[in-house]
Symmetry: C2
Subunit: 294 residues, 2 copies
């Protein structure tokens, strides 16, 4: 995994993924006590950065293999990113979703062109269902974060941050990234290592689901006790990825742990001052960084 | 008023106004029955396109005159655009606002650096207050739409639409513009006349406040009966401007009249499918264009 993969992904994404702007507001600066810039990936196709990774992985496939179809597990944003990216490549996609996923997300994913296979979280073996389907129909699995092409796609966000900051004369910043499995965080960290080396990436996680923060402290992959029970459903993952963790460990600053109240406040401020609609996981960002780190 | 003024404004705005993206969603396309692209000027500095016109006018002033200060009348978006643009030029600004304007808008305008002078809509003469202040303190008045530099600034939105559409292979489209006094509508129409001549601009107004639509039909400036009583407060003006109307008359297609329910539906769809927060006036756009015009 290296910067060349990210730059190659940027070429494949050009004209297909959206280049999101860098937003700011004097009112946010006042609240935070420092200049704040927001990269609103909620404005990306399908409403999240996941479209970048999905497009990156699907566009890099051998056309014959791609034409047989893609398979993915997801109850949310990765599902929609894969569905749209596959459809736009003329490839079928199958998404394995839990039967209790929100009806709207299931409907949206289907409307974007995917075939949905529902499973029962309590009684079915999701991986067995996926393996059988993948083998029977020669589908290719695209994992949500532990995949080099996916990380490279998410990393294009970092290339844009570096460029957009540079054009505003900003070279030094803390880059706070809401973090689940670490695909976006590690991709951005790699991009900035090469294009804005004075910036430090801090993974941000909801209280009680701070596997990445703890893993960074201990130097080894740590698991969360629970995989549900947070409003930040988009970034609740059991543990950092085998590909993403070494990158985060090498490049990231300390992880920040964020309360649900802070996530909700971030949603409110984003709505009021930036005119964007973010989900709780997208607002997973401390109101102020720890004073000792300033 | 011509395209050269718009292109000169674009140079002055570069690096200061935000280049907003062009958004779309397969779900919006399905609702509208055709491809739809949205230029989200709610993401502009201060939350509306008004910042473009304000920056254009203030940046074009003689520095000595500008340093004495700017004066404007507005209860909303123009106020905030002028306040921020003046502050960033190091110039004082005075905004004459009605005492019953929303407290949040008054507070925001003040926080952006403006001095606020409140007047009573019923008993005070707003123009007399403004004239006296302008003379006593040598302030320069920037009107909200009937000003060539303001129209030129709003027209930079049209330059971006032409460029962004071209990069997606779109040359032919109806361009629906929520319309008050016509600054944005006439600026976009002029920009597209030169850079995307197959596009047709249609001003869109709330039901009961269709002065522009009626003026376009009769060929003469028509007034609204009322200047209040709509949820679309941002685009309720008594009549089209003396500078904007001839441009709209020469270049625009028929005006569209939009119900309040349609504005509210547009807000909902923008929230759900584009993740942006728009005000009712910004959603003033018919769900489907008249079939006979397709």
């Amino acid at each position: 995994m290296n910067i060349d993969l990210i730059e190659a992904a940027a070429k494949r994404l050009s004209g297909h993924a959206r280049r999101t702007p860098l937003l700011s507001s004097p009112f946010l600066d006042e609240i935070a006590g420092r200049p704040v810039f927001v990269k609103p990936e909620c404005l990306q196709h399908t409403g999240s950065f996941k479209f970048r990774g999905a497009w990156s992985a699907i566009s890099a496939m051998d056309p014959d293999i791609r034409a047989r179809g893609i398979i993915a597990y997801s109850s949310g944003n990765h599902a929609q990113g894969i569905a749209l990216a596959a459809t736009r490549h003329g490839a079928p996609s199958v998404i394995i979703m839990p039967a209790d996923a929100p009806k709207l997300k299931i409907d949206n994913t289907r409307a974007l062109g995917a075939e949905i296979v529902l499973y029962d979280r309590a009684s079915d073996d999701r991986d067995a269902i996926g393996d059988r389907l993948a083998k029977t129909r020669s589908l290719t699995l695209v994992k949500p974060f532990d995949n080099e092409f996916v990380i490279a796609g998410q990393g294009t966000t970092g290339l844009e941050i570096a460029e957009q900051d540079k054009s505003q004369g900003i070279e030094n910043a803390r880059v706070l990234v809401p973090c689940g499995g670490g695909g976006l965080t590690s991709g951005i960290a790699l991009a900035l290592e090469n294009h804005a080396p004075d910036m430090v990436v801090h993974p941000c996680e909801p209280q009680g689901f701070d596997d990445v923060a703890r893993s960074l402290v201990s130097g080894k992959i740590q698991r969360n006790k629970s995989t549900s029970g947070s409003i930040c459903d988009a970034i609740i993952t059991p543990q950092p990825g085998n590909l993403t963790f070494p990158i985060m460990s090498r490049l990231c600053g300390a992880g920040f742990v964020v309360t649900e109240t802070q996530c909700l406040q971030a949603m409110k401020h984003a709505f009021l001052h930036l005119k964007i609609v973010i989900e709780p996981g997208g607002g997973c960002c401390p109101r102020r960084g720890p004073v000792s780190l300033q």
